[in-house]
Amino acid sequence: MSKGCLAANDWICGEYLRTRGQELTDATIQHVGITAAAVGIGLLVALPLAVLARRWRPVAPPLLALTTVLYTVPSLAMLALLVPILGISVSVVITALVLYSLTILLRNILAGLEGVPEEVREAARGMGYGPLRLLLTVELPLAVPALMAGLRIATVSTIAMTTVGGIIDYGGLGNLLFSGLDSVFKAQVLTASVLCVVLAVLADVLLLGVQRLLTPWTRARAAAATPQSAAATPQTARAA
């Protein structure tokens, strides 16, 4: 039985994991690197854009429309359009993923900034806060939950989308999907797919932990809010 799970092309194969461990590790490292670079750059671009759109209102609608248009372009087409500009390189994949994550991050950060209560802003101004201090010490911290929610969505979907980069050999675990498809290598396809999902779940849990650490005040509020929402449940629960 154990002799030939590679030869038999089984879905689950310990021999595959043993003999191709290095290949799997390399692909995973590339996957994580591409995702981290894309989401990191996306955040660095989205944050100032969101602040700009919040300060200077007329910028917001066209900016959001532009990112929505970018989001609509299918990933394979996005990569193909970037190839003549950037050549076949890892920057094609990272750029495409930055453009996608930008849409999610920009919307969420902007929603977070707009969710800061006007009274809070007034109170800070009354205490003599200037615009910069208001932004850095009041508005941005209060926007962190929305920002982190966006970051989690962007990271999880970027991990999934990185696989498409395999078409130009810069797709992390996606490279293994492409070569596994060519050779109908079931163990490789299944292992790479499972690893992608595991990466996505791990990243989500990790970012949730970061969010908890960054916003200790939300836990106290959530605990205080529980009795209220519990009291509201009978009203919303209805019979068919």
């Binding site: 759109a53 917001a60 609608p61 959001l64 989001y71 609509t72 372009v73 299918p74 990933s75 394979l76 087409a77 996005m78 990569l79 193909a80 359009l81 190839v83 003549p84 849409t103 999610i104 919307r107 969420n108 902007l110 929603a111 707009e114 929305a146 929610a149 966006g150 969505i153 999880v156 979907s157 991990i159 999934a160 989308m161 696989t163 498409v164 395999g166 078409i167 130009i168 996606g174 999907l177 492409f178 596994g180 498809l181 109908v184 290598f185 079931k186 396809v189 299944l190 797919s193 992608c196 999902v197 996505a200 779940v201 989500d204 009203q235 919303t236 629960a237 209805r238 019979a239 068919a240």
Partner: protein
């Protein structure tokens, strides 16, 4: 830019549009698959979502399905199905993957729309003696309409993108022009295919935005309460 010129030449060459594997045939395949899979996915997802929303259950289910749809790579599902026994047929892997990835946006948005319908209005309708069915059809559904259409729009964008990826796993559709170009190192063809795919996605999205406005059962009577920047919890692209 030689490539842009090359892509333009490719797009303006009549022989690339007609015949076997021409643009018209690929576009036909793409639209046919998109429409078919959207209909199947809607037939599965919408009744479940509307009923769950109506009875006020299944919130966790809807959220989890959205999360799963985001975390599982479309390409992985396509390739898994293609190397499985189902892959012997050219159609099944594509069809199943497209339907699977259209379900989360449809389900989540429709559920949320019905669930978040103004409770005061719903209570008033109940007080008027409406039955459960009447309530759903005449009150909750019209109120949920914007969310429902958002779901249909993101599902369509998703299906068009996934149908493009189907070419990688040997399926048809416009993505085939891109993948064939990649495998023969013809960059102008790759770019031309990408332009066609992007144009299709944007045109369909635009058409759906307009259609949603025209078909609104409460056209002109809906409160304009939509914020400039709504967070994007439920859309996904591939």
């Amino acid at each position: 830019m030689d490539v842009i010129e090359g892509a333009w030449t490719w797009l303006t060459t009549g022989s690339n549009w007609t015949g076997d594997g021409g643009v018209w045939q690929r576009l036909g395949e793409h639209l046919y698959l998109t429409a078919l899979c959207l209909l199947i996915a809607a037939a599965i997802a919408l009744p479940v979502a509307l009923w769950l929303g109506h009875v006020g259950r299944g919130g966790a289910l809807a959220t989890n399905i959205a999360g799963i749809g985001r975390a599982v790579p479309t390409l992985a599902v396509l390739v898994l199905l293609t190397v499985s026994p189902l892959g012997r047929s050219e159609l099944w892997p594509t069809l199943i993957a497209l339907v699977l990835f259209a379900i989360p946006p449809l389900l989540t948005n429709a559920h949320l729309g019905v669930r978040e319908a103004d409770q005061n209005v719903v209570e008033a309708a109940r007080g008027m003696g409406m039955s459960g069915g009447q309530l759903l059809w005449r009150v909750e559904l019209p109120l949920a309409y914007p969310m429902l259409m958002t779901g249909i729009r993101s599902a369509t964008v998703q299906v068009i993108a996934t149908a493009t990826l189907a070419a990688i796993a040997g399926g048809g559709g416009l993505g085939r022009i891109i993948t064939d170009g990649f495998s023969t190192y013809r960059t102008p063809q790759v770019v031309a295919g990408a332009v066609l795919v992007a144009a299709l996605a944007l045109l369909v999205e635009g058409a759906l935005v307009i259609a949603a406005r025209l078909l609104d059962p409460m056209r002109g009577r809906r409160r304009r309460a939509e914020p400039v920047a709504a967070p994007v919890p439920v859309t996904a692209t591939t």
